[in-house]
C-alpha cells in the first residue's frame, strides 16, 4: 500500500480490487454507470461490481453492422461501445422542466428533482472528447444550461485507454484517442493481469483510498504504451482534416450531396447515437382537463423534417439539404462556432446508419469532386 501517490502517477491495481473502488464511489454518493451487455449489444447502465461488465467480449463493427462477439480474452473494458453514449446522462433525452397549473392564475412549479451524481466508469478517449465538446455548447459565457451544468459539475470520470479499436473507429485521425487526452479523475489501461490506473485528480486519488495497489512497473507501462501504438495502426478508418472545415463550407453545391441524398433515409439515427449532437426541442403536454401542463425538453434532430419549419414552408425540405446541414455542421461550421470539430471519430454514425453511410467516405468523395 502506497502513501498518497502523486497526481499523474500510475499505479497497478489488481482486478480483484476494482469492486472496492466501485463501492467507495457509491459510498461517496455516486451512481456508478458503466458498460453492460443487454439485448446483444452494449449499453451504459448502473454497475455494482466488475463482473457486471462485458468480460471477454469484442464488438465487430462496420457500416450498418454491430455484432457482439465472445472473444478469446478475459478483459472487461475491451469492447468498443454500442449505440449509447454518455450524453444521455448529462443531456437526458427527456427532462421535465416545470409544470404549470391554472388555478386562478398561472402557477408554475419548476422541477424539484435533485440532479444525480454520476461516476462514469469506462469513458473512452473519443467519448471524453465528446463530453468536452458538449461542454462548449452547453456551458458558455453567455449561456449555461442549468440541467447540463448540474450533472456535469458533480461528475466523476474513470477513463479508459483503448488498446483494441473497432472497424468504424477513427479517433486517431481526430486527435481524440486511442490514448485519453486528460480531463479525467482516473484513467485506466487494462492489461491481461492488471489495471494500470493513472491518477488524474485528488478526487480520483480519494476514490482509491481503500484499495490495495502498487506503483506501476516500467514493464507494464511500456506494454501499455506499445499497445496504444498498435491501436493507432488498427484503426478501422481514417479521416484527413487538412482541408477542413473549408472543404465543406466552400463546397455547398457539389453534385455529391445529391448522391448521398439518394441513400440517406433521414431517419436521424446518426444524431441520436452521436455523442456530440445537442439539438433539442421543448414540448407541452396538457392533461385532459386542460388544467395542468407539463413542459419538457426532448432530443431533436436536424434530420427531423419539421426541424426547419417556418410559416409558409420549410427551409430544408429535402433530404439532401438536411444531410448537408448535418455534415457541414459536424465537420465544418462547428469549428467556427466552438473552436473544435464536432466529431471525435467514435464511428457510431457509421455503425448505426441503417444504410451504412460512412462519413469518412463521404468526405473523401466530396474532396475528390472539389479537387477535380
Amino acid at each position: 500500500m502506497l502513501n498518497k501517490p502523486t497526481i499523474h502517477s500510475t499505479i497497478a491495481l489488481p482486478k480483484t480490487e476494482f469492486d472496492t473502488l466501485l463501492a467507495t464511489l457509491r459510498e461517496l454518493g455516486y451512481q456508478t454507470i458503466g458498460p453492460r451487455v443487454r439485448d446483444e449489444a452494449i449499453v451504459y447502465a448502473g454497475i455494482e461490481k466488475l463482473s457486471d461488465l462485458p468480460q471477454g467480449y469484442t464488438s465487430k463493427q462496420g457500416p450498418a453492422t454491430f455484432r457482439l462477439v465472445k472473444g478469446n480474452h478475459q478483459r472487461y473494458f475491451d469492447v468498443i461501445p454500442g449505440a449509447q453514449s454518455w450524453k444521455q446522462f448529462l443531456f437526458p433525452p427527456r427532462t421535465h422542466l416545470f409544470t404549470v397549473k391554472k388555478i386562478e392564475r398561472w402557477d408554475i412549479q419548476p422541477d424539484a428533482e435533485k440532479p444525480p451524481r454520476y461516476a462514469f466508469i469506462g469513458v473512452r478517449g473519443c467519448e471524453l472528447a465528446a463530453i468536452e465538446i458538449q461542454d462548449r455548447a452547453f456551458l458558455r459565457a453567455d449561456f449555461r444550461d442549468p440541467i447540463y451544468r448540474a450533472r456535469r459539475e458533480g461528475l466523476f470520470i474513470l477513463a479508459v485507454n483503448c488498446l483494441h479499436p473497432a472497424g468504424t473507429c477513427f479517433c486517431a485521425s481526430m486527435g481524440t484517442g486511442p490514448k485519453v487526452q486528460g480531463g479525467y479523475d482516473l484513467c485506466l489501461t487494462e492489461l491481461d493481469d492488471i489495471f494500470l490506473i493513472e491518477i488524474g485528480s485528488e478526487l480520483g486519488r480519494d476514490a482509491l483510498s481503500r484499495c490495495q495497489y502498487e506503483p506501476a512497473s516500467g514493464f507494464s507501462q511500456s506494454a501499455a504504451a506499445k499497445g496504444l501504438e498498435r491501436a493507432i495502426d488498427e484503426m478501422g478508418r481514417q479521416l484527413s482534416l487538412d482541408d477542413l472545415p473549408s472543404l465543406l463550407t466552400e463546397n455547398l453545391e457539389l453534385e455529391h450531396w445529391d448522391e448521398v441524398a439518394k441513400r440517406c433515409l433521414s431517419c436521424a439515427n446518426c444524431t441520436q447515437v452521436c455523442p456530440t449532437c445537442f439539438c433539442w426541442d421543448a414540448t407541452d403536454q396538457t392533461d385532459l382537463m386542460a388544467r395542468s401542463t407539463r413542459r419538457e425538453r426532448v432530443w431533436d434532430s436536424c434530420f427531423n423534417p419539421q426541424y426547419s419549419y417556418v410559416f409558409g414552408g420549410n427551409t430544408r425540405p429535402t433530404i439532401k439539404s438536411r444531410y448537408r446541414q448535418w455534415l457541414t455542421h459536424k465537420l465544418g461550421t462547428w469549428k467556427e462556432q466552438y473552436d473544435t470539430f464536432g466529431c471525435t471519430g467514435c464511428g457510431r454514425c457509421i455503425t448505426w446508419c441503417p444504410v451504412g453511410i460512412d462519413l469518412t467516405e463521404e468526405i473523401a468523395a466530396l474532396r475528390k469532386e472539389a479537387q477535380a
Binding site: 422542466l97 416545470f98 404549470v100 391554472k102 392564475r105 398561472w106 408554475i108 419548476p110 455548447a137 452547453f138 458558455r140 453567455d142 449561456f143 449555461r144 444550461d145 442549468p146 440541467i147 463550407t249 455547398l252 453545391e253 445537442f278 439539438c279 433539442w280 426541442d281 421543448a282 414540448t283 407541452d284 396538457t286 386542460a290 401542463t293 413542459r295 425538453r297 431533436d300 436536424c302 426541424y307 426547419s308 419549419y309 417556418v310 410559416f311 427551409t315 430544408r316 425540405p317 429535402t318 439532401k320 439539404s321 448537408r324 446541414q325 455542421h329 461550421t333 467556427e336 462556432q337
Partner: protein, 288 residues
C-alpha cells in the same frame, strides 16, 4: 454591433422559465395580424426591462408552446409595457389571438442582436421593408425620431400585398412630420388606391442614393430581402452597410437548441440582425 442589454426576463437557473405578463392592450392591425402589449407582473422586471430595436421576445402560452415575436414598440417607452406585432399563423400565435385584455402569458427575453443604431449615426438610412417585416423596424424608426439630428437623410420604403395589408398606416404622417421620407407601395390594388403600385425593390429606381453615405436596413419576406440586396449592391452600397433581419424556426432564443442555425450563425443569438457581408456566402445557397 450595438452592445446588447442584460436579459432581464431570462432565468439563468431554470431553462425556458417564463415570466408572467398581463395583456394591457390588443389591437387588430391587418387581416391575420395584431399587436399586443404586455406588462410584466414582477415589479422589479417591469422596472428594469429594456430592449434594443430589432430584438425579440419568446411568448409562452402553457399547453401550446412558445413563439418568437418581434418587439415593435418604442424602446424609450419605459413604462414597463412592451408591444409586439404578431402574425397569427401557427398553433401558438392563433391561441394568442383568442386572448383578451387582462389575460396572462409567459414572456422571456429580450433576445438577439439589434439594428446598429449607434454605428450608423451620421449616415443616410434606407429602410426597405415589406409586410410584417416593418414590425421589428418600427422601434428603429422611433429611435431615429427621438434622435433625428444624429442621422442624415432617412427614407422608408414599405410595401404590402394590398392597401389593406399595410401595417401602421396611421403613423406615416407622424413619421413624415419627423423628417422621414415615407414611400409606400402595394403589389396590387384597385382603382380606389391612388398611391404607388409596384414592389419595394422598384423604389430603389426612384431615388438617387449616395452610395458612400447610405446604409440599408431591411426586413420582410426573404425573397424581397434578396431583391433589395441586389438593388442596394447594384447602386454600389457595400455589403458591410446592408443589414438584414432574418427569421427561422426558434425554440430557445439562446443559441442552444440548434434549430435557427444558418451556416455557423444562430439567428437567435448572432442575429436576427446581420450585416450582409457575414451572410453573403450562405444566403443564396438554395435550401441551406
Amino acid at each position: 454591433m450595438t452592445t446588447p442589454l442584460p436579459q432581464t426576463a431570462v432565468s439563468p437557473n431554470q431553462l425556458l422559465y417564463p415570466y408572467w405578463a398581463e395583456i394591457t392592450q390588443l389591437k387588430h392591425e391587418t387581416e391575420g395580424v395584431g399587436s399586443i402589449w404586455l406588462r410584466f407582473e414582477d415589479p422589479a422586471i417591469r422596472e428594469n426591462y429594456r430592449f434594443l430595436p430589432g430584438q425579440f421576445n419568446m411568448l409562452y402560452l402553457p399547453g401550446y408552446g412558445e413563439a418568437a415575436i418581434s418587439i415593435s414598440s418604442d424602446p424609450q417607452d419605459t413604462q414597463g409595457v412592451v408591444g409586439h406585432t404578431i402574425r397569427f399563423v401557427g398553433d401558438v400565435t392563433k391561441a394568442i389571438s383568442r386572448l383578451k385584455v387582462g389575460d396572462v402569458i409567459g414572456l422571456r427575453g429580450p433576445f438577439g442582436s439589434a439594428w446598429p443604431m449607434d454605428e450608423i449615426e451620421g449616415r443616410d438610412i434606407v429602410i426597405a421593408s415589406g409586410g410584417i417585416g416593418l414590425a421589428p423596424l418600427r422601434p428603429a424608426i422611433y429611435h431615429i425620431m427621438h434622435h433625428r439630428e444624429r442621422y442624415g437623410k432617412v427614407l422608408l420604403i414599405y410595401g404590402a400585398r394590398t392597401p389593406k395589408d399595410l401595417l401602421y398606416p396611421n403613423e406615416y404622417e407622424q413619421w413624415r412630420a419627423n423628417g422621414i421620407d415615407v414611400q409606400i407601395t402595394v403589389d396590387r390594388a384597385d382603382e380606389t388606391w391612388d398611391g404607388q403600385v409596384g414592389v419595394v425593390p422598384m423604389l430603389f429606381y426612384r431615388f438617387r442614393l449616395d452610395h458612400q453615405k447610405s446604409v440599408v436596413l431591411t426586413c420582410g419576406p426573404e425573397i424581397m430581402i434578396r431583391f433589395v440586396i441586389y438593388e442596394g449592391l447594384a447602386r454600389r452600397i457595400p455589403a458591410e452597410r446592408i443589414y438584414v433581419s432574418l427569421e427561422r424556426n426558434m425554440k430557445c432564443g439562446q443559441g442552444s437548441c440548434g434549430h435557427c442555425q444558418i451556416g455557423p450563425y444562430f439567428i437567435c443569438k448572432d442575429g436576427p440582425v446581420f450585416r450582409f457581408d457575414a451572410l453573403e456566402k450562405f444566403f443564396n445557397v438554395e435550401e441551406f
